[in-house]
């Protein structure tokens, strides 16, 4: 087989044309990309404010407590320690969740592949919108909830996110695995809108 014959053979493999809806999909996401940049900045600001608030509360509690100075200092350090651990854990879980979301996982509802379902989120929270049904908020950390957290509804191992949404079983499966296979509990609220 000479070069020309090889070229002719290779030319037999045709690529399909770009699907027409892709253009609309990409262009429709233009503002979303812009918002994402603002969200990153907003998240940084929120974290900074949260840390400042924690330090402020610690300082006030220490000043107002009737205990001794050493006792106050110990409590303060303990609280700071716990907050820092939670903060690091939130960051880590948020990182895993972000990588999982960006891997374009496949969504199965009661075992059926649903290409019409939308999946997104930010930080340690994700959401799933099922057409005609609504949006389910899925939290990978209890710290997401200000009040009491809803009961545990599933688990996430970095590869599969599985949970109960009402009477349905939702399985969101990625081609990759993120994190160290730690099994995280999943808390679900919703549907919150339609």
């Amino acid at each position: 087989m000479n070069d020309q014959e090889l070229d002719e053979a290779l030319n037999r493999w045709k690529a399909p044309a770009t699907p027409t809806p892709l253009r609309a999909r990409v262009l429709a996401d233009y503002p979303r990309g812009e918002r994402r940049g603002r969200r990153d900045l907003g998240r940084l600001l929120r974290w900074s404010l949260a840390m400042a608030a924690v330090l402020g509360v610690l300082a006030i509690a220490s000043a107002q407590s009737g205990g001794g100075a050493l006792e106050n200092l110990g409590e303060g350090i303990n609280r700071l320690h716990m907050n820092t651990i939670n903060w690091i854990h939130d960051l880590w879980v948020g990182h895993i969740a972000s990588a999982f979301r960006n891997s374009h996982p496949r969504i199965y509802v009661d075992g059926e592949l649903r290409s019409d379902a939308e999946f997104g989120g930010s930080g340690v929270g994700v959401w799933l919108r099922l057409p005609g049904e609504g949006k389910y908020l899925v939290a990978l950390r209890r710290t997401v909830f200000e009040g009491p957290a809803p009961p545990r509804a599933g688990r996430f191992d970095g590869h599969v996110l599985e949970f109960k949404a009402g009477e349905r079983t939702v399985r969101i499966e990625s081609t990759g695995t993120f994190g160290f296979h730690e099994r995280l509990p999943v808390y679900v609220m919703g549907p919150v809108d339609r």
């Binding site: 053979a9 253009r23 262009l27 233009y30 081609t175 990759g176």
Partner: protein, 167 residues
């Protein structure tokens, strides 16, 4: 950030080459579609590394396609197995062999090592100059040449059996 007008122009100018490249890297149109979408979203992110002064947009976007395809943890055998090119129905006998060959070409290209496959696709199917391929892949021009030669040698070996059977 890039304006909507620039963004639209970038899509219109480059999406076809990106889609073809992604399709031939993964063997799946659905994956190629997602990859192209993700690459354009990457262009909008604040941390986007594109610098128009240093890199042509096409080179940057095809490099992004390459990176996205590499991230998709797809086993090559699976991808090759899923390639399903429709048979050409225009004539009966030799067309079956031609369709088989088209399928075989896809399998042979997808069966190449990643490093050879990407270079072959850009050189043969996208007709890119070696220097631009080197920029996309991030290697020297000499390495591009040798990868291309190895890829073509491997394909020649695999495909020659079909060529002999064609009229």
């Amino acid at each position: 950030m890039i304006s909507l007008e620039e963004f639209t122009r970038a899509y219109d100018e480059h999406h076809a080459a990106m889609f073809r490249f992604a399709y031939r890297l993964t063997g799946l149109a659905a994956d190629a579609e997602d990859i192209v979408h993700e690459c354009f979203m990457g262009l909008l992110r604040p941390g986007c590394g594109f610098d128009a002064q240093r890199t042509p947009l096409r080179t940057y976007l095809l490099g992004a396609v390459r990176n996205q395809a590499a991230k998709r943890f797809r086993r090559r055998e699976d991808a090759a197995a899923e390639v399903n090119t429709p048979p050409d129905r225009r004539s009966p006998e030799t067309q079956a062999l031609r369709a088989e060959m088209e399928d075989s070409v896809a399998r042979a290209v997808l069966g190449l090592p990643d490093a050879q496959r990407e270079v072959l696709i850009l050189a043969h199917y996208e007709q890119m100059p070696l220097a631009e391929i080197a920029a996309v892949v991030g290697i020297e021009v000499g390495a591009v040449k040798s990868r291309l030669q190895r890829a073509r040698g491997a394909l020649r070996e695999v495909l020659s059996q079909y060529q002999e059977r064609l009229p």
